[in-house]
């Protein structure tokens, strides 16, 4: 890994228009894709460490029910959902983005979350209630920054106008809701079928 690969995401988050343009048209697809997965992994790691090691004053999780794999899933699944929903919508809405581009742009937009929250995991162990407001402030700042990057990334990747981007993003959230509902329905149906088949098998094996 060379120096450029590390500095590129950092440049992107401060100069998003230029950065996302490069991402779409200039840069080597494979290298960026690897970087995107690394960023997603780092965000997962940040969230897990945050749950476990955040300071007592800001950590309200019950350590008894802490599950690293689930925490990881809570990070990765929404991102993938977002990408799939966004891709499905923008294909219908004349977006120019390919799925890989959407995924890369989304992951690069998550960089501020890692960058701001990771140091706070350790810092939050040395704060009092008065200083906890800084913790929450920087947390919201990270989220706002991330949303802004998501917006710019979406706009650049699909070559949309700002208003159309906003509409697509809102619709993407709705589509995510639909997808979640369909997934639940699917899994519950599968569960029913599996239950039905296993009951029949049980019945037959006990009778014979």
């Amino acid at each position: 890994m060379n120096r450029e690969q590390v500095t590129y995401p950092l440049q992107l988050i401060v100069r998003p228009f230029q950065g996302f343009w490069d991402l779409k048209y200039e840069r080597d697809r494979k290298g960026v894709l690897i970087a995107a997965w690394i960023i997603l992994g780092m965000l997962g790691l940040t969230v897990i460490l945050q749950r476990q090691y955040s300071g007592f004053l800001v950590n309200f999780n019950n350590p008894k029910y802490m599950n690293s794999l689930l925490e990881l899933a809570y990070v990765i699944v929404p991102v993938l959902f977002w990408c799939v929903a966004n891709w499905s919508l923008t294909t219908l809405m004349d977006g120019e983005g390919k799925f890989a581009e959407i995924f890369m742009a989304t992951c690069f937009a998550l960089v501020p979350l890692v960058l701001i929250q990771f140091p706070w995991i350790w810092l939050s162990n040395f704060i009092t209630f008065q200083e906890a407001s800084f913790y929450y402030f920087s947390g919201s700042l990270a989220v706002l920054w991330c949303l802004f990057l998501l917006f710019v990334g979406n706009m650049t990747v699909h070559q949309f106008s700002p208003s159309k981007t906003l509409v697509t993003m809102a619709l993407t959230v709705v589509a995510m809701g639909f997808m979640a509902f369909l997934c639940l329905l699917f899994f519950s149906l599968i569960q029913q079928i599996v239950g039905f088949v296993s009951t029949i098998y049980q019945e037959l094996s006990l009778r014979s």
Partner: protein
């Protein structure tokens, strides 16, 4: 195998079994002596706790020598230890002394020259001067007798513009404050408690519960026509279920409110001033089956040092909280064994003991403190007095008996904080999940550590900066050397 050998083997096995059983039985008996109890942790989970109170004896009318009770509905204890039991079905008040020996029965009094009695009375209150107040529900009045049993006054249905024309006065429970104002909880009254002056005139209502509007029901009401609406149930505030008064004149009240606060402490204006600084508001059980529903609190008793106990009719449990709203201990339950009830209706403290009255069975159960209960009570008392050092000692003992008692760790932490042991204070506040105090202690600890190591830290920072500058210069010079040959 020879027959005799097999026989000895069998006997041996049988013997072993007997021994094992014996050992098991012994353990069981020991465990049954004090039933295990539970607590709620910071995360709202139920955790094991030792029993703080233990049922020691059970009394009914016959064993007390005053004939069987018939649906008794209230009891109260005078500061001198005399226990007053309101035997509603027999229209009498039974007096017992501290040792549960009968001291007398009040079933009639002289009213205007002729004998008068009670009719299905529901509530009674004993003032500190020995005067007895009875909510004589069947006769729709409150009877005030002095310590000799002579009639002082009768409070009849009041007349006031605050009341509706068809108002029926049906007093159910009552308390009296030190200036002899009578607070009556009357059935069918939604405006709060009825306050009567010492001369028996009605003055006002205090402490009405808030109306809770169910959004779904509200929607239906919006859609309904006026005629349909008149047939629907009105939104009314919930009624109180019981009340008690402490020595400072604050009224503690319970209500059947599902959505608000089921326990209230009312000041003279009727405002709720109960402190709720525990991990959750005092409400009885946190975890319950949806079929049984949440705790239905039907009686409250305020003890010394602002401790109060509430009685849950749903599962027959008694919950005790301290003045700050921290749960201290839970005991009781529904069942047929000693220490369990059928239809509990009233609780009262007799010293440190707690008496629970069972309506259907007409029995009184006396609960006495275990070592754990004594330690905890003393800890709360010491803390309330402001004696933090001795409170910390008791809390320390309590923690040794129940490591799950988060509240006790906070008590130890406060004492450590006061003594300036910030490190220990931080540790104990963390154990008790008390974030506000943890923050205070941590701030002081941080200051202390930074002050103590100021010179080391500053030297370290200066050295680091110097080292950084040197490294940079070295790297630059090296780069220049590389460039020169080219």
């Amino acid at each position: 195998m020879p027959k005799s050998a097999r026989l000895t083997k069998l006997t041996l096995i049988a013997l072993c079994c007997c021994l094992c059983l014996g050992a098991l039985g012994g353990q069981r008996a020991e465990a049954a002596e004090v039933a295990p109890s539970y607590m709620y942790s910071f995360y709202g989970e139920s955790v094991a706790a030792p029993a703080a109170y233990q049922a020691t004896s059970l009394y009914d009318g016959r064993t007390l020598g005053v004939d069987a009770f018939k649906e008794p509905s209230d009891l109260d204890v005078h500061p001198d230890g005399t226990i007053y039991i309101l035997d509603s079905g027999n229209n009498r008040v039974v007096l017992l002394d501290q040792k549960m020996e009968p001291r007398g029965v009040v079933d009639s009094f002289v009213n205007g020259g002729s004998a008068d009695g009670f009719a299905n009375p529901q509530g009674l209150f004993v003032a500190d001067n020995g005067h007895l107040y009875v909510a004589d529900s069947g006769n729709q009045r409150v009877v005030h007798l002095d310590e000799q049993g002579k009639l002082v006054k009768i409070i009849e249905a009041p007349e006031s513009e605050l009341l509706q024309a068809n108002f029926v006065f049906n007093p159910v429970r009552l308390v009296v404050d030190t200036s002899e104002r009578v607070y009556v909880m009357a059935a069918g009254v939604f405006d709060g408690f009825m306050e009567f002056n010492s001369d028996g005139t009605f003055s006002t209502f205090i402490g009405a519960n808030r109306v809770y509007v169910d959004p779904m029901e509200y929607l239906w009401k919006m859609l309904a026509t006026r005629q349909q609406r008149s047939q629907m149930v009105m939104f009314t505030p919930t009624e109180f279920t019981n009340l008690d008064i402490n020595d400072e004149g604050f009224i503690y009240a319970t209500n059947g409110d599902r959505f608000g606060d089921p326990i209230k402490k009312l000041n003279a204006q009727g405002a709720d001033i109960l402190r709720r600084e525990g991990n959750y508001t005092p409400q009885g059980d946190l975890i319950f089956r949806s079929a049984t529903g949440p705790s239905r609190l039907i009686d409250i008793d305020v003890g010394d040092s602002e401790m109060y106990s509430v009685l849950d009719a749903r599962l027959g449990r008694v919950f005790t909280y301290n003045g700050d709203g921290h749960l201290l201990y839970i005991f009781g339950g529904l069942g047929n064994r000693l220490g369990e009830f059928n239809t509990p209706v009233a609780i009262a403290r007799a010293g440190d003991d707690i008496l629970v009255l069972d309506k259907a069975l007409g029995e009184i159960t006396r609960f006495q403190t275990t070592e754990y209960g004594r330690v905890l009570n003393e800890a709360v008392r010491s803390y309330h007095r402001g004696d933090e050092a001795s409170a910390a000692r008791y809390f320390y003992e309590a923690v040794n008996l129940n490591a799950n008692l988060e509240y006790a760790y906070a008590g130890i932490g406060k004492s450590e904080l006061r003594q300036g042991n910030y490190g220990d204070a931080v540790h104990y506040f963390r154990q008790s999940m008390d974030r506000a105090n943890y923050s205070k202690a941590y701030q002081l600890l941080r200051k202390e550590v930074l002050r103590a190591h100021f010179s080391t830290i500053m030297t370290g920072i200066v050295l680091a900066i110097v080292a950084l500058l040197l490294v940079r210069r070295y790297l630059k010079s090296k780069a220049r050397k590389k460039v020169v040959p080219v």
